[in-house]
């Protein structure tokens, strides 16, 4: 009965602490974070690790991964479709902006409309790549998406004529806000405009996702994830529901891609390999599948640990005389350990969604009983 209880609790819970929908609290939280993070960066010990500018630059880069994790969370966490080729949509978003605003095509479409275009193009590809996989389930879906994730960078790599091959597309235009606040083009030397931009994008995305989660579509995703057959017999159109999950997930990756290529000012096919997909997946799993703020926090923590944390561990190791240790090499070992341990010990993630926690900790009492018998016999 507890799953039913979970549903009841969920629909009956007070929506926000400020009334209305969650958007206002998200806005306030975002403003607080935006102000706090750069301030924290100036305090010891963080101030010792880099200048405030470096930190803010790092936060802007982390934002890209937060967006990726948020989008992947829609596909994996909400709809329960394991997508291992998510980086493909990131790549498509990035190349879309590269085509829209670089010397390679000669076009000069501004960043802001391209943000929407990138999201739409990625969403279109999400539907195109998602459509053939609709009949597949679980791990087959994972493998097909993994295949797509491998094909897309290969296509970008090998179609020299259209993508400039290995060298990628360079000289991609920076965003501009036309002199408001005295800022024209965003520069490489000043990370602040990028930081603000990505925070705004993330805030909007998070608001929309919270609304989606509680919407008819969001509930349809959950139903689909729990039991596709039952969902279908309750009148949920599984085809459109799944395709919308792919499209919305992909569009978020598209946003991330556009921002990424404008900040880096170049795109190369090797930035979109399977490691990106798997990193985003690790972030979603660690943060807590299905929980929007948990996933965002997970992505931020993982990103900062991997960029700053490992670097500081190195400095520390070198300071105590371990000159040969380089912790940055152990990044994937740590990811791997984290994934395995997380699944074994805390499968709901660091910040689980309420529903997931109930599912994982209340229902399996009977399963555990039946599972305990054979293993007990062997262990003895």
């Amino acid at each position: 009965m507890s799953r039913l209880d979970a549903l009841r609790t969920r629909s009956a819970r007070p929506r926000t602490f400020l009334g209305g929908h969650q958007s206002l609290s998200v806005f306030l939280f975002a403003i607080a974070i935006t102000v706090l993070l750069p301030v924290i960066a100036t305090l010891p010990p963080f101030s010792g690790f880099g200048t405030q500018k470096d930190w803010v630059n790092g936060f802007a880069d982390a934002g890209v991964y937060i967006l990726l994790a948020l989008g992947l969370n829609v596909v994996v966490g909400f709809a329960g479709l394991l997508d291992l080729g998510y980086a493909a949509f990131f790549a498509i978003g990035a190349y879309t902006y590269a085509y829209g605003n670089s010397g390679f095509t000669g076009l000069d479409i501004p960043f802001w409309p391209m943000l929407i275009v990138g999201a739409l193009v990625a969403a279109t590809f999400g539907i195109l790549l998602g459509a053939p996989t609709l009949r597949l389930r679980g791990d087959y879906l994972a493998i097909v998406t993994l295949g797509f994730g491998e094909i897309v960078p290969v296509v970008f790599l090998n179609s020299d004529k259209y993508t400039n091959g290995t060298n990628g597309i360079t000289g991609i235009g920076q965003p501009s806000i036309y002199g408001v606040f005295g800022i024209n083009g965003f520069g490489f030397t000043n990370p602040w405009p990028y930081y603000i931009t990505i925070v705004v994008i993330i805030t909007i995305v998070v608001c929309l996702l919270y609304r989606l989660e509680d919407s008819r579509l969001g509930r349809a995703w959950v139903a689909l994830r729990e039991d596709e057959l039952a969902a279908a017999s309750m009148g949920i159109n599984t085809v459109t529901t799944k395709l919308l999950a792919f499209a919305i997930g992909a569009s978020t990756a598209g946003l991330a891609g556009v921002f990424f290529s404008s900040k880096l000012s170049s795109v190369t096919p090797d930035s979109f390999g399977f490691t990106v997909s798997f990193t985003a997946l690790a972030m979603v799993v660690l943060g807590g599948m299905g929980n929007i703020w948990g996933v965002a926090a997970g992505a931020f923590i993982v990103y900062e640990l991997q960029t700053q944390g490992l670097k500081q561990l190195n400095t520390f190791a070198h300071s105590i005389g371990l000159q040969n240790v380089d912790f940055t090499n152990y990044q994937y070992l740590l990811y791997g350990l984290a994934l395995v341990l997380m699944m074994l010990l805390r499968p709901e993630g660091l910040f689980p969604s309420r529903r997931r926690r109930r599912e994982l900790h209340e229902t399996p009492a009977e399963d555990e009983l039946t599972a305990a018998d054979p293993t007990a016999g062997v262990a003895a």
Binding site: M1, S2, R3, G80, L82, P132, T133, R135, L136, R137, G138, D139, Y140, A142, I143, V144, L146, G147, F148, E150, I151, V154, V155, L157, N158, D227, E228, T238, F274, F278, L281, V285, N329, Y330, Q331, Y332, L333, Y335, G336, L337, A338, L339, V340, M343, L344, P347, T363, P364, E366, D367, E368, T370, A371, P374, T375, V378
Partner: protein, 345 residues
């Protein structure tokens, strides 16, 4: 009440193809592949044909592990490709530790060294596979299906990173101990190494077929794959049977790793991912759970790659393999041998 939801009936099972028309189909496919190679490569067709069989043998050996593990516990063992990679490093380690650097011409030395390399690598990788199963997969056997899949990805990261940090972060050269004369058997010119690899791969596959179809343990494996609980009631030790499946699958991947080392002479820490994915494609192509199918699928992938190169699209060969995977899963998820129903929603 939540347990009232019935498990969908199990669909992928460890099986062996026994239909009379399969060998005929394979023969026709081989002839077609040869003709295509004649069109694409002209005088090099024969070399390319042998090359495809050799590469295909490696993929087939890896694919067997995927198909067995999927057949028995319905898990895509993502770390399997890394087992293959570590196997190639075991081969490198053994040969360099023994102090070999080039071809061994004396067969009295060569044969024991080869046997030793294969036995050590297969045993080590088999044990590694069993340990991984025990630590990372067994505790999650009753968890949601996503959970072991994610641990499998984690294990694959761990293995890859350990080799990257512990052994080498770049390409490693493996001594080419098999001498390289070209043999002329009738009209066929074949290098010794190719002959060795093809014969070895095919005989390992036959040994596995025999094991699964004729021995008691093989029967235990098949029955566990069909219905774990029923098998347990009939006195099969399910846990050790699953462990045995991992041992055999990983040992075959270890053998494939040695073949990789001996044939290509190089290995690198990230070789396992792509090769693993291709081998998985092979397993799906042959119909997952079907041992014969995985073997045939491996050779098909070998031919797809070689044909792509022969037609001048070498850079697209990987994309061709993955496109095959997607197309097969979408249009014929039961694989080319197509006797089981694959898991479709």
């Amino acid at each position: 009440m939540t347990t009232a939801v019935q498990e969908p009936s199990r669909t992928a099972r460890i099986s062996i193809d026994r239909r009379w028309n399969t060998p005929i189909g394979v023969a026709i496919a081989l002839v077609v592949a040869y003709l295509l190679l004649v069109i694409a490569a002209g005088p090099q067709a024969q070399d390319q044909f042998i090359n495809a069989l050799t590469i295909g043998g490696v993929y087939a050996l890896i694919a067997l592990g995927y198909t067995m593990v999927y057949g028995i516990i319905e898990l895509i063992n993502f770390s399997h490709g890394e087992i293959f990679m570590v196997g190639s490093f075991v081969c490198w380690w053994l040969l360099t530790t023994l102090g070999f650097s080039g071809a061994i011409t004396d067969p009295l030395v060569l044969i024991p060294v080869l046997v030793l390399t294969f036995v050590v690598s297969m045993a080590v990788m088999g044990v590694v596979g069993v340990v991984i199963e025990r630590l990372a997969y067994r505790p999650l056997r009753n968890a949601p299906r996503l959970a072991p899949l994610i641990t499998a990805i984690g294990v694959s990261f761990i293995l890859q990173n350990l080799v990257f940090v512990g052994i080498s972060n770049s390409i490693v050269t493996i001594p080419q101990i098999i001498p390289n004369p070209e043999l002329h058997i009738g009209p066929i010119n074949i290098r010794l190494i190719n002959l060795f690899v093809i014969v070895l791969a095919v005989s390992l596959m036959f040994a596995l077929q025999m094991f699964i179809s004729r021995t008691k343990l093989g029967r235990a494996m098949r029955s566990t794959a069909i219905d774990r609980e029923a098998a347990q009631i009939m006195g099969v030790n399910v846990n050790s049977t699953i462990a045995l499946t991992f041992f055999i699958g990983s040992a075959l991947a270890g053998a494939a790793g040695v073949v990789q080392g001996l044939y290509f002479g190089v290995t690198v820490f990230n070789i396992g991912f792509q090769n693993g994915l291709k081998a998985f494609t092979a397993a799906v192509l042959g119909g997952i759970g079907n041992i014969t199918g995985a073997a045939i699928g491996g050779f098909v992938i070998g031919f797809i790659e070689v044909l792509a190169s022969a037609f001048g699209y070498g850079r697209w060969s990987e994309a061709a393999v993955f496109a095959t995977l997607v197309l097969v899963l979408v249009f014929r998820p039961t694989g080319i041998l197509g006797q089981q129903l694959a898991d479709r929603a």
